[in-house]
Every structure is written in structure tokens, then in C-alpha cells.
């Protein structure tokens, strides 16, 4: 693993399955104490949004690089966060304001929300633990399995209903706060290109967004952050419908996988900002009027997966040649010869392309991606090569269902 080699010191946490290593909060804290660490950065997944983990770290006299435990807890409860946002004047998707305990309750609440609707785990997030239900029959069919899955994945089987917003865009706003009451937004990212409710392409700024809507989104995100007295990096996710009406979706109380697109267009290092805030310093920049966007950035999540069915493809990376192009940032977790195991997410690298305009960024992406050579495992690079040439992507008019009707025309081998 290249990141282990880059570290000055590295310690083995345990075995590969996350339950035997990355999810063992006590072991991580103990190791941090033993090695004299001042602070812990939780990364994106695993324990990064677990309030108990934060409390354990703080109890050990170590700083957690992220928001406080109470904020994480408040926003991690999807039903509770809906209520908090409504009170703060941030629009939320029509839905139930408390958990639906039984199928009967769900069937009773559903007509006032209207079908199709989303059945969601309150403790869920990141696209896991949610099912779209077209009608009563589908709701009846999925109710118990979503509940069981919520219990299995998140240890909490509370579920709720939300209206399904058709032809929507997923647009999120990066926010940042410090311990002195400063809260700013770092503009938005469009993350509508998704498969299985998980993002594959993100861009900043969002294409096809009217300036007044953009402004109102930023303002709503800051209001959301202020409502919970937010500190450190966070993201407020919104669903924007075809009439430019927007609704709060969820708040991610951590750094996002796609943060590099924001870094590229704003020129800030968000991890540096996180560390500054955790140290008790003020935000490196808190004058919103000085925080503009320059150029356009697109991130491609390179997954070890079949580009047609999007199914995972673990194995040994026999060849990994990114080719060459200036102004392309590659955040990779692997080097040639590395093994992609079934224990983790199939993300092997993030490719971030930056240019002065969106058109140029797409041209540059095409040039770069066609020269990427990966052997030994399948990746979604052939999918990107075709998808970024579609009118839907080029026009920027795509919505979150864009990949439901996109089909790779020929099985790409790379």
C-alpha cells in the first residue's frame, strides 16, 4: 500500500476484515495513546461518523479532527436531522417526521407523502439502507428487509419514508466552521452521476445551475451548519428537482471522498483547514466575499468493477499506468502489483481533472482516460470513456437516474 510506505511510522491494527481492524475503536485509541499521537483524522468511512469513537478519543486526551460528538450524533440520525433543518428554515423532502415502526404504520403514512417514495434507514447514509417503492405492494415487500438490513448494517432498525423526487440532481455544498463562530461555504459540487445510489463522477462548480438557485443553496447550507453550530469540514447534501426546488437530503459530518474538486477550484487544502481548526485556530479564510471559484474540476472514481454490470472485480493489479497529463491529480490507494481485496470498497483511485472551463475539462478527461492502462482487474474506465461523450453528460443536464438508462455499447477490455 503506497500510503503505508509514505508514512513515517505505521502500525498494524489487525486482520483485513474491518470488524477485526478499522472498526475497533478501542484498539485505535490505545495505539494512538501508546505512540503519542496528538490527533486522529478519521478519513471518510468506517468510524468517521461515529460519535462514540469521538468521545473515546477525547477521553484519552487526543484531538479528533472533525466536528464534535454531539453534532455527529444529531446529523447521523436522519429523522432528527430533518426536524433540525425544518426548524432552521432549510427545506426538507416531504416525509415522516418520526420512525415508522410497523408496515401498517408505513402504509398509513404513505398516501399523504405519495408514491413513489423512498424507504430509508434513519441511521443509514451513503446510499446504503434505502429502497425506492413504487406502490403499496412494493412497500409491503421491502419493509421488513430494509428494517433487517438497517439493523445489520447500522445496529438500528428505525426506518422512515420520504417522497421520491424524480429527475433530480444531487448537489452538495461544502461548509466549514471553526471554534470562533465562523461558518463559511466553499461552493457546491454536482454528484448526480451515481450507480446504486453511490457517486462515480463529481464536478465543481455544478453545471446548469441558475445563479440565484446556486446562491440560495449556499445560503441554506450555511444556515444548516449554523443550526448545529458546526465546526470543521462538513457537507450539506441537497436534492434539486427539475423546477430548481431544492430539499435537504443529509449532512455528512466529515470530509467527503470528492473534496479534491473543491480544492482544485478554490485553491485551498481542505485537510490543512481541518487540522488548523482542530488545533483551535481560526479558519484560514473566513471572508466569504474573497472565496470565489476559479475554473472547473471533475473527479472520476476509478472502481475495481465490471464496467457493464458495475459488479466488483477484486484481484491483483498486474499493470497500472496512468499515462501522462499535466494538471491531472491522481489520489491512488494502489500501485502496480497491489491486490484489491474483497474486504473494502472497490475504489482504487480518484482522478481529478482541472481546466479553466468545463468544456476543456471534459476534453482533457477524454485524452487522459483513453490512455489509462490497468490490467489484472476490471475497472470502470471504459465506462467513463463512453459516458463522458454522451450528450447528456456534455450538456450537463443529467440527473441521478442517468446511469439507469446508459448502457456500455461494447464490452470494453482494458
Amino acid at each position: 500500500m503506497p500510503f503505508v510506505k509514505e508514512a513515517d511510522e505505521a502500525f498494524l491494527l489487525g486482520n483485513a476484515p474491518v470488524k477485526e481492524s478499522y472498526l475497533k475503536a478501542d484498539d485505535i485509541v490505545q495505539l494512538a495513546v501508546q505512540t503519542g499521537a496528538d490527533a486522529i483524522h478519521p478519513g471518510y468511512g468506517l468510524l468517521s461518523e461515529k460519535a462514540d469513537f469521538v468521545r473515546k478519543i477525547e477521553k484519552a486526551g487526543i484531538r479528533f479532527i472533525g466536528p464534535d460528538a454531539a453534532t455527529i450524533e444529531k446529523m447521523g440520525d436522519k429523522i432528527g436531522s430533518r426536524v433540525t433543518m425544518q426548524q432552521a428554515g432549510v427545506p426538507v423532502i416531504p416525509g415522516t417526521d418520526k420512525g415508522v415502526g410497523t408496515l401498517e404504520e408505513a402504509l398509513q403514512s404513505a398516501p399523504s407523502i405519495g408514491y413513489p417514495l423512498m424507504l430509508k434507514a434513519s441511521a443509514g447514509g451513503g446510499g446504503i439502507g434505502m429502497v425506492r417503492c413504487e406502490n403499496e405492494q412494493a412497500l409491503s415487500q421491502h419493509f421488513n428487509s430494509v428494517k433487517a438490513r438497517a439493523k445489520a448494517y447500522f445496529g438500528d432498525d428505525v426506518v422512515f419514508l420520504e417522497k421520491f423526487i424524480a429527475d433530480a440532481r444531487h448537489i452538495e455544498v461544502q461548509i466549514f466552521g471553526d471554534h470562533y463562530g465562523n461558518i463559511v461555504h466553499l461552493h457546491e459540487r454536482n454528484c448526480s452521476v451515481q450507480r446504486r445510489n453511490q457517486k462515480v463522477i463529481e464536478e465543481a462548480p455544478s453545471p446548469r445551475l441558475a445563479d440565484d438557485v446556486r446562491g440560495r443553496l449556499h445560503e441554506a447550507a450555511v444556515r444548516a451548519a449554523k443550526a448545529v453550530n458546526y465546526k470543521n469540514a462538513g457537507t450539506v447534501e441537497f436534492i434539486v428537482d427539475e423546477n430548481d426546488e431544492f430539499y435537504f437530503l443529509e449532512m455528512n459530518t466529515r470530509l467527503q471522498v470528492e473534496h479534491p474538486v473543491t480544492e482544485k477550484v478554490m485553491g485551498y487544502d481542505l485537510v490543512e483547514w481541518q487540522i488548523e481548526v482542530a488545533k483551535g485556530n481560526q479558519l484560514p479564510e473566513s471572508d466569504q466575499s474573497k472565496m470565489g471559484v476559479n475554473g472547473h474540476a471533475i473527479e472520476y472514481r476509478i472502481y475495481a468493477e465490471d464496467p457493464v454490470k458495475f459488479l466488483p472485480s477484486p484481484g491483483i493489479i498486474q499493470r497500472l499506468d496512468w499515462g501522462q497529463l499535466d494538471d491531472v491529480r491522481i489520489d491512488s490507494g494502489y500501485v502496480e502489483g497491489g491486490r484489491v481485496t474483497p474486504f473494502y470498497d472497490p475504489l482504487i483511485a480518484k482522478v481529478i481533472v482541472y481546466a479553466s472551463t468545463r468544456e476543456e475539462a471534459i476534453d482533457k478527461s477524454r485524452e487522459f482516460l483513453t490512455n489509462v492502462k490497468v490490467e489484472g482487474i476490471k475497472t470502470n474506465v471504459p465506462f467513463f470513456n463512453q459516458f463522458i461523450q454522451t450528450d447528456e453528460f456534455i450538456s450537463g443536464k443529467y440527473t441521478t437516474n442517468v446511469l439507469n438508462h446508459f448502457q456500455l455499447t461494447a464490452k470494453g477490455e482494458i
Binding site: P17, R196, L311, S313, P314, P342, D345, P346
Partner: protein
């Protein structure tokens, strides 16, 4: 008799059938979890489940026999 094999390394997430149960072609008999995704495993022949070699939570490798169907 046909062996239903694992298409990839992963953990058994659910076993959807029992020994003696009749299954049809394309029926999801088992779900694996790999790389944070659920991978459905389908029966490729119709018949009766004669043996199940794995339990929920077991780690399996690609090509491991998960269960057997007698046509």
C-alpha cells in the same frame, strides 16, 4: 447435479434456500457481500437443493462451491 459456485471472494450475507427446496433457473439462492456490495448468486439449473456448504458469515473464495442442486 450442479454445483453453484462463488463468482468472487466475499462473505456469505444471506442463504435464501434450504436443503430439499425446489429452485428455478435464475432464482437468487444466496447473496454474497464483497467490497461493500451485495452480490446475488443465482441458480443456473432448476432442481432440488441437495446440499448447502456455507453459512451466513463464512468467507468464501472465487470458485468455491456454495451449494449443490440436483436436477
Amino acid at each position: 447435479m450442479a454445483a453453484v459456485k462463488s463468482t468472487m471472494a466475499g462473505t456469505v450475507f444471506t442463504v435464501n434456500v434450504a436443503v430439499g427446496e425446489e429452485v428455478s433457473v435464475g432464482q437468487v439462492v444466496l447473496v454474497l457481500e464483497s467490497m461493500k456490495m451485495e452480490i446475488p448468486i443465482e441458480a443456473d439449473i432448476a432442481g432440488k437443493v441437495s446440499a448447502i456448504n456455507v453459512q451466513v458469515g463464512d468467507f468464501v473464495n472465487e470458485e468455491d462451491t456454495l451449494l449443490t442442486i440436483e436436477s
